[in-house]
Structure formats: C-alpha cells, structure tokens
C-alpha cells in the first residue's frame, strides 16, 4: 500500500496544490508547491499498491499522452518520491 508521509498534509486551495509539513522531518521544512501531475500522484497514491500501479492510475488521467514515453517517466518520478519517503510504501 502507498500513502502520503504523515509528516505532511496535502491541500488543494482554489486550484493550488500544496504539501504542507506538519512535523519536523528530514525531507522539507518548507511548504511544497505541486504542479498538476504531482498533485495527481498525491491524490491517487492511497488507491495504489505500488509505484507501477500509481503510475498507471495517474496515466489514465492523461487522455492524449504516449504511454510508452510517459509511463516510464511517471514511474521514475514516483519511485523518487518513494525513495525520498514523501510517499511511503508498506
């Protein structure tokens, strides 16, 4: 299962997506400003069992993207987020 590191809270405010640190942590003491793709990743992460599944869930939201090109990029990006422990895999 994937879930957002509970040292952070995801918030969407009038179309702006933010990861706000709640507790002292090793990743970031500053609020993180998310682009649309990153926001989708954090919105969907709790519906996925692993990085590959999350990448597929996010990819489904892109209607005109080239799967062979975009999916590996998404997986890499998600893997980085898991390595950085912004997304926790358990």
């Amino acid at each position: 299962m994937l879930f957002l590191n509970n040292d952070f809270v995801y918030r969407e405010i009038h179309g702006v997506h933010l990861l706000i640190p709640v507790k002292k942590n090793a990743i970031s003491d500053e609020t993180i400003f998310l682009n649309e793709t990153a926001a989708l990743i954090f919105q969907l992460c709790s519906y996925a069992k692993n990085g590959h599944m999350l990448a597929l869930l996010v990819f489904e939201k892109f209607t005109d993207a080239d799967k062979e090109e975009v999916l590996p990029e998404l997986e890499d990006y998600i893997q980085n987020l898991i390595s950085e422990e912004l997304i926790i895999e358990r």
């Binding site: 990861l19 500053e30 400003f33």
Partner: protein
C-alpha cells in the same frame, strides 16, 4: 515541485495566486480572554473583568475546521495570553495537523521547555513576542508584573538556543519611550532587522478610552524612528519609491475601509465573533449563533464593499500613504469611521514632510 521559502513568502504567494479571490486565507483567533499581564495600554477589556465566557475547545476545533474548508493557510493564535489556555498544546497540534501554518502571538513570559519541545516537533510559522521594556521597572509599570522582564528574557534565550523562529515587536508608549533605543538594540542583537515598532495605542474594545493616555505624541514617535539608524534607512528607502504618492485603488474607489479589511482575513474573538480585522469590533458577526458563510458575506458588505460618504477626508488626503489610516480605529476612538483621530493626521504630516525632504534632497544632488 518547488518549495516556498523566505520572508514574506505567504503574503506574496497569496497575492500571486489568489489576488482576485475573497477568502479567509489568513486568520487570527483569540483562544481566551485571560492574561497573566495587566497591561495599561491593552485594548482587551476582557482581562480586567471576571464575567467573561469564552469558546470551548470543541468550538475552537470546529472553527479551525471551518477555516480550513474555506482555504485558510495561515492562522495565528492570540488572547489574552494564548499560552494560558488549558488545551493550548492540543489546539496548536490540531491546527498543524489540518495543514495550517500556525503562528503564536504571546507576551512570552510563560514559554517553557514544554513549549520548546512542542515547537521543535511541530515547528511554528512564527512565535511573535511583544516586548514592553528594557528593564524590570518598565515591565512592572506597563504589565503590572515585575518578574515579567526576566521571564521574557529567559524565554528569548530558550527560543534562540533551540533555533525556533521568533520575532520581537515593540508597542511604543509613554511608559517605555525612554527604553525604545535599548529595546531596538536588543532586538538587533537577536539578529532581527527592521522589526516592528508600532504606536497604535487604541481604546479598549468595550469603548473605554483609558489606554489612550499611554500614547506618545506624533513628534516623539517620529523622533525615535529617525534616531534609529535601521528605521531611518528603511524610511529613506521608502521615500524613493514613487508609488508612495499614488492613491491606492480602494482610496480611488471611495471605500470606507481603504485597507480592504475583511477581504482575505478574518479575526475570531474569544467569544466566537467574526471580525474583519482585530480593531474592527463594530459591526461584527456572532459565529456561535450563526453560519460562517453568512458572517463572511456580512463582513464583506459592512467592510469590503462599504462606500464612504463624500465628506470622508481620508480619500482625498495627501497624507494617506503616511499616516497608517485605519477607519476601524477611528470608529473605536471617535465613534465615527470617517472622523480621523488627530494622532494619525499629525504623524502623517510629519512623515510626509520627512519623505518629501529626503526625496527633494536627492533630486537637488542629481
């Protein structure tokens, strides 16, 4: 992904992304009316009587939830003295866990190791301490608490030692006037530049004008500011900003509250009233017996959209950019938001002259 960091980040962020949206992106909340200090200049009438009812902790949680639903990003807790609240720790953590950036406005005297541990684990956006003097005597004169000075100095050491983000601000008044240069030096020694030095003593929020006797004269306030090298440099910098003489959009628009009180800020009092600004005590909205959306709309009509009469001098005044104009403060002191308090006008005149002199000097040097 990018991080937001640095001073002023949130005001800039809100302006950049939400300039045209009226929502309570920032808020202040009084947790309780009680205070361990009894400051002679304080506007809070509540700490001088004992028959006050305040919000329950559950009501506070509910209001935090409502603020989050409405987009609140920044919230500061105040009082009274908010650290006196029996559930301060729980309330603070509750707001943090909702994804709010929380600041704490305090007199500093009650900060102890437990608060430090809390703030190390759940970092605050800012701990903002009001500094009242540079000695035990001054503290006693203003706060009625002789130990206050030592307690606050100990608290500042604790915050520094633990690298917790804090600011020190000064409310200048007759009772600490002589101390202000020393207080400013102390604040500079804490590594804080261009700290807040305010002079806006105002009546109590029950209308009692007793605090006004603490106010310095406009000339005294200017003298202190111009003697302070840092403050003087700041004012000289402002003097070269051409925008300082332009009318603001709201001034041009003929609004009664040219500062846009209530546009993106809401203040919640200890008894659950919504105000558009700390000083804007009348009119206000009883949130505990109403609905936030209705209150927000009401404050919008009363403050954001309210137009002034054609007699309102501030809208055409050339000192407007210099005086710290505040229609809500005028109302609490004169009973009429369109009747300026002379202190503001006189200070505006002095500040305008100073800025013009600096600006003219530069032109003649060119």
């Amino acid at each position: 992904m990018e991080c937001l960091s640095g001073e002023q980040k949130w005001s800039q962020f809100i302006e950049q992304h939400f300039a045209d949206i009226r929502a309570p992106f920032t808020a202040g909340m009084e947790l309780l009316p009680d205070c361990n200090f009894k400051c002679i200049h304080c506007y809070a009438a509540s700490d001088r009587c004992n028959t006050i009812s305040s919000m329950t902790t559950e009501q506070i949680y509910k209001i935090v939830d409502i603020l989050v639903e409405h987009g609140c990003l920044e919230l500061y807790f105040t009082g009274g003295e908010c650290l006196l609240h029996k559930d301060f720790f729980e309330i603070y953590i509750y707001a943090k866990k909702k994804g709010i950036l929380v600041s704490v406005l305090t007199n500093g005297s009650l900060i102890n190791q437990k608060h430090i541990e809390l703030w190390l684990e759940y970092p605050p956006e800012l701990i903002s301490i009001s500094l009242y003097g540079a000695s035990k005597d001054t503290y006693e004169k203003i706060t009625g608490c002789r130990e206050g000075y030592r307690q606050v100095m100990d608290a500042i050491s604790l915050l520094q030692k633990n690298n917790i983000h804090f600011e020190l601000k000064i409310i200048g008044m007759r009772q600490n006037y002589e101390d202000i240069p020393e207080m400013r030096n102390f604040i500079r020694g804490c590594g804080q530049v261009n700290s807040i030095l305010a002079w806006d003593i105002r009546p109590m929020n029950n209308g009692d004008c007793e605090p006004i006797i603490c106010r310095v004269t406009p000339a005294q306030s200017m003298k202190i500011e111009l003697q302070d090298p840092e403050r003087r440099a700041f004012l000289e910098h402002l003097a070269f900003d051409e925008k300082r003489i332009a009318k603001t959009e709201r001034q041009k628009g003929g609004y009664l509250y040219p500062c846009a009180a209530g546009y993106q800020f809401v203040f919640i009092t200890y008894d659950g009233h919504m105000q558009s600004y700390v000083k804007a005590v009348d009119p206000r909205y009883d949130l505990l017996h109403g609905d936030f959306d209705e209150g927000w709309k009401y404050l919008g009509e009363e403050y954001v959209n309210r137009k002034a009469s054609t007699n309102f001098k501030c809208l055409t005044c050339d000192k407007f950019r210099y005086c710290g104009q505040c229609s809500a403060a005028f109302k609490s002191e004169t009973g009429d938001p369109e009747t300026p308090v002379p202190f503001y006008c006189e200070r505006g005149e002095l500040m305008k002259k100073f800025m013009e002199n600096i600006s003219n000097l530069r032109i003649s040097q060119q």
